[in-house]
């Protein structure tokens, strides 16, 4: 950690200000012992969930009931929670980080904040959906799609991501380049076709003056409002919106084909924080997310793709196996910085 000099100063200032003696907060959770798998976990489990409570709250309730653990959940934005864990340092109350993109999980792993998972846990999912170093595991899949305005494109839109650099799309594209799943897609692009191709694509889109949004749901809302005609987002935002606004909503998903970098499958995943006070309970929670019950929940309730074999996705979606997802290691996050640099060099951010 960097602020080794600063920390005592801050401590002194604050302590003087508040005239409060520092006592150790104390650990309320019980360590799992040397054989965590053998004994059933007990005590308190603290989950930092970068996912919406309305989406995963019911699932966590089921775990609470089944395990008998006192499960405490801090819900907030995925990347903000990851940064919070970095700020908290060794004093972090978090046992598990449950994030909705591989980028945040990778950032925590890169800072050494995630503990290694046992291979039995990791092998529940295909290698492409987990960390190569075994520090986190994907629990549900999210496909990149091109969402489009059906009023202007009743017959669909091009199925190759390359096509959108055509000047015909000038001013019609919306994207969310700060979004981690977008960045994972760019990383995938680099791995598949090389930096030059990825840069050329980014610059091509940039020349079409895309509108920049902060999130996938903002892009979707912009298509609905007619601000843009197409947007590069994840598939399930539309499913959620259709459920609420009805089938008349004039937006649909175009899945991409032909090993296109735009057809990447990203994941929401979980990892155990290296300073976890209750690693046994944390392990039980991660395993629960990979159970058939949870996988079924992701398929039917959040409209994501289950990643564990034998559980099938929402029938309205093309099956995971049928998506021509490029065969790349999406957890190749060692070069997220390279991706960011590329995105910034292209003048996108």
């Amino acid at each position: 950690m960097r602020p080794t000099v600063a920390r005592p100063i801050v401590t002194v200032v604050l302590a003087a200000l508040l005239a409060a003696a520092c006592t150790d907060g104390g650990s309320t959770s019980t360590p799992g012992g040397s054989e965590p798998a053998a004994e059933s976990p007990s005590g308190t489990l603290t989950v930092y969930a970068g996912r919406s409570e309305s989406l995963v709250g019911p699932l966590i309730d089921r775990f609470r009931e089944a395990s008998g653990l006192d499960v405490q959940v801090q819900y907030a934005d995925t990347s903000e929670l990851a940064v919070t864990i970095l700020e908290e340092g060794d004093a972090s109350p978090a046992d598990v980080f449950f994030g909705q993109d591989a980028g945040a999980l990778g950032a925590l792993a890169a800072e050494g904040r995630l503990a290694a998972l046992p291979s039995a846990t990791l092998e529940r999912v295909e290698p492409r959906f987990r960390s190569p170093d075994g520090e986190w595991v994907g629990v549900s899949g999210r496909a990149r799609v091109v969402a489009y305005d059906t009023r202007l494109h009743p017959d669909g839109v091009p199925t190759a991501i390359e096509a959108y650099t055509d000047p015909a799309w000038s001013g019609k594209i919306g994207w969310a380049p700060t979004n981690a799943s977008f960045q994972a897609f760019v990383t995938g692009f680099r791995v598949l076709q090389g930096d030059d191709a990825a840069r050329a694509w980014l610059e091509g889109i940039q020349e079409n003056e895309p509108k920049v949004y902060e999130s996938n749901s903002a892009v979707l809302a912009a298509i609905d409002a007619g601000e843009v005609e197409v947007g590069f987002i994840n598939h399930y935002y539309l499913m959620n919106a259709l459920a609420e606004q009805g089938e008349s909503m004039p937006v649909r998903n175009q899945f991409l084909t032909g090993d296109d970098p735009g057809a990447l499958i990203n994941v929401a995943g979980a990892g155990i924080v290296n300073t976890a006070g209750n690693p046994a309970a944390a392990q039980a929670f991660v395993d629960f997310l990979l159970s058939d019950e949870s996988q079924q929940y992701f398929a039917t309730e959040t409209n994501e793709y289950p990643l564990v074999g034998g559980v099938s996705a929402n029938p309205d979606l093309p099956p995971l196996a049928e998506i021509d997802s490029p065969d790349i290691d999406l957890s190749d996050l060692a070069d997220l910085e390279g991706t960011l640099r590329l995105i910034q060099e292209a003048g996108v951010l």
């Binding site: 979004n179 902060e214 409002a225």
Partner: protein, 544 residues
């Protein structure tokens, strides 16, 4: 003309009311309290310096580049436009609702303040949905062959939304100043033959300038800190650039450098406000008890244009976002979404907002007293220090509190108490402004009278001055309450685990695109806030 000249106030006129004792130094214990409060307010800045020092030199070129200059210029443009826009809307509205025979004056008074309660992302969303290229307005115009409207994103859209979200700050501060002003001075000018417009320009307006500037300052700093509207309307402000650093690269050092640039801009804005305040004028009044209520100006044929103006502002700032919330609700119910009642969230919002308001007022009193009664370099520094973190985006303040609390006071981390303290300190400027203005208006003579009767200074203040300040303190507290209940990043990261407020409930649903589920807590937030505004205005009137 001549009369106007004769009544033109001198620069030192302010001394006649509030600064008799400029030379008298502040009592040491009070100064110590003030410095401690300033220290609390400066903590986020200290955190940013620590983080900035840790920056990787090789990564600096990502921050120090032409793009950052562009962001700085954009942010400056936004600040200036929001300042001009909020004054342009706020001052006429304040005047219309206090000094004219505007039909439905009391109702308009409430309606032009309630928009303060609406989170800017809701206003921004409503704006896109209504006025976007294919929004509701285009739908209405479609029969006329309008295929799409021009895009409203960027500087224009961000300015409009932020002006609509923050002009009530100017309305409130200007109203309070108008209600405090002694109308006899204007009457004298009129008697001496000045025209009404001349009186307004030469007599009324100069007295109001500090209050207008104070309101505009709050509005501008609100705009600088805002993330909801600028992200929705895709405008490159510092606030957005800072979020990009956290979200895209998890880089706290580069974010800290950008945040420090934003702080520098904040200081420039508050300095400008200070200059305006120093040039302020005031008239010695014969005494509170002999004051008459303000003279009512008949609007005559301007009656209905004035009503149309108020109606247009309320329509855009209140009806459009509130209508959007209702539309979400109706559309969701139509699709079979259950309406969730969020009683817990409402209770929690009320508790946090109320406690933060009380805390901010308690902290504001010593600061306001120091700067009003003992103006000096040090007391000015104390007051300005409370503004230092006010324009920082919530995420920066939240992370700084995480870092400080975990390292220094771990037993308070993720407790309600810490959240309340953080809010009270962050929103302190809202309470300091009105308390300071009221203290200047009341003047030190009341306390001096008490002291000649044998009271100690503290007792004289508590017994005699404090009751006179009550309306201003309630108003300041209400502002803090309104801002706290709609605040999001700190509620998410600093609240006790599992602690839901109305703002977190709205976020939880809206972040996944579940607008119908967001509608119920959003509607509750509006109702809670509208009630607070009513309390605020009543206390203001009782003060008269």
């Amino acid at each position: 003309m001549l009369a106007g000249q004769a009544l033109r106030p001198g620069r030192t006129a302010a001394g006649a009311i509030g600064t008799d004792d400029t030379a008298r130094p502040a009592p040491r214990p009070l100064l110590a309290v003030g410095l401690a409060i300033a220290g609390l307010a400066l903590l986020p800045l200290g955190y940013l310096v620590i983080r900035a020092i840790g920056a990787d030199v090789a990564a600096l070129d990502l921050v120090i580049r032409p793009r950052t200059l562009h962001v700085a210029a954009s942010t400056l443009a936004l600040a200036l436009l929001v300042g001009a826009g909020t004054v342009g809307l706020g001052v006429p509205l304040a005047w219309l609702t206090t000094r004219t025979d505007l039909p439905g004056r009391r109702l308009w008074t409430v309606l032009v303040v309630v928009p303060l309660a609406i989170p800017s992302y809701v206003t921004g969303f409503a704006f896109l949905a209504a006025l976007g290229p294919r929004g509701a307005l285009q739908g209405l115009l479609a029969p006329l062959g309008v295929e799409r409207l021009p895009s409203i994103g960027g500087l224009v859209g961000a300015t409009l939304v932020l002006v609509l979200a923050s002009f009530p700050y100017v309305v409130l501060s200007t109203r309070a100043a108008i209600l405090r002003t002694d109308p006899t001075v204007e009457d004298a000018a009129r008697l001496l033959g000045d025209r009404r417009s001349t009186v307004f320009r030469r007599i009324t307006l100069p007295v109001l300038v500090p209050a207008i500037a104070a309101g505009a300052l709050l509005a501008i700093l609100y705009a600088l800190a805002d993330f909801g509207a600028v992200s929705l309307l895709q405008f490159d402000s510092f606030s957005r650039a800072i979020y990009v650093q956290y979200r895209a690269s998890f880089d706290r050092s580069l974010a800290a450098i950008l945040a420090l640039m934003l702080v520098a801009m904040t200081l420039a804005v508050t300095w400008a406000e200070l200059r305006l305040r120093r040039r302020a004028v005031a008239y010695a009044s014969v005494g509170r008890n002999t004051r008459r209520p303000p003279t009512i100006v008949p609007l005559g044929r301007w009656r209905w244009p004035a009503v149309a103006f108020c109606g247009a502002v309320v329509g855009l700032a209140l009806v459009m976002p509130a209508g959007t919330i209702v539309w979400w609700l109706i559309r969701g119910i139509g699709q079979g979404e259950p309406v969730r009642l969020v009683v817990d969230g409402a209770v929690n919002s009320f508790i946090v907002g109320g406690a933060a308001a009380v805390g901010a007022v308690l902290l504001a009193l010593p600061v306001a007293f120091l700067v009003a009664r003992h103006p000096a370099r040090l007391t000015t520094f104390i007051e300005r220090a409370t503004y230092s973190g006010y324009a920082l985006p919530g995420i920066v303040v939240a992370l700084s509190v995480v870092f400080l609390a975990v390292n220094a006071i771990p037993f308070l981390y993720q407790t309600l108490l810490l959240l309340v303290i953080a809010y009270a300190v962050r929103f302190l400027p809202q309470a300091v402004g009105s308390a300071r203005a009221a203290l200047v208006a009341v003047g030190p003579r009341v306390e001096e009278a008490g002291r000649t009767l044998g009271d100690g200074p503290l007792r004289a203040f508590l017994r005699l001055t404090l009751p006179l300040l009550r309306p201003a303190l309630v108003a300041g507290g209400a502002l803090v309450f309104l801002t706290t209940v709609k605040e999001l990043p700190m509620a998410l990261l600093l609240g006790p685990i599992g602690f839901d407020t109305l703002a977190t409930e709205i976020w939880d649903a809206a972040s996944e695109g579940f607008y119908a589920r967001a509608a119920a807590p959003a509607a509750l937030l509006l109702v809670l806030s509208a009630g607070t505004v009513a309390v605020l205005l009543r206390s203001e009137e009782r003060g008269q």
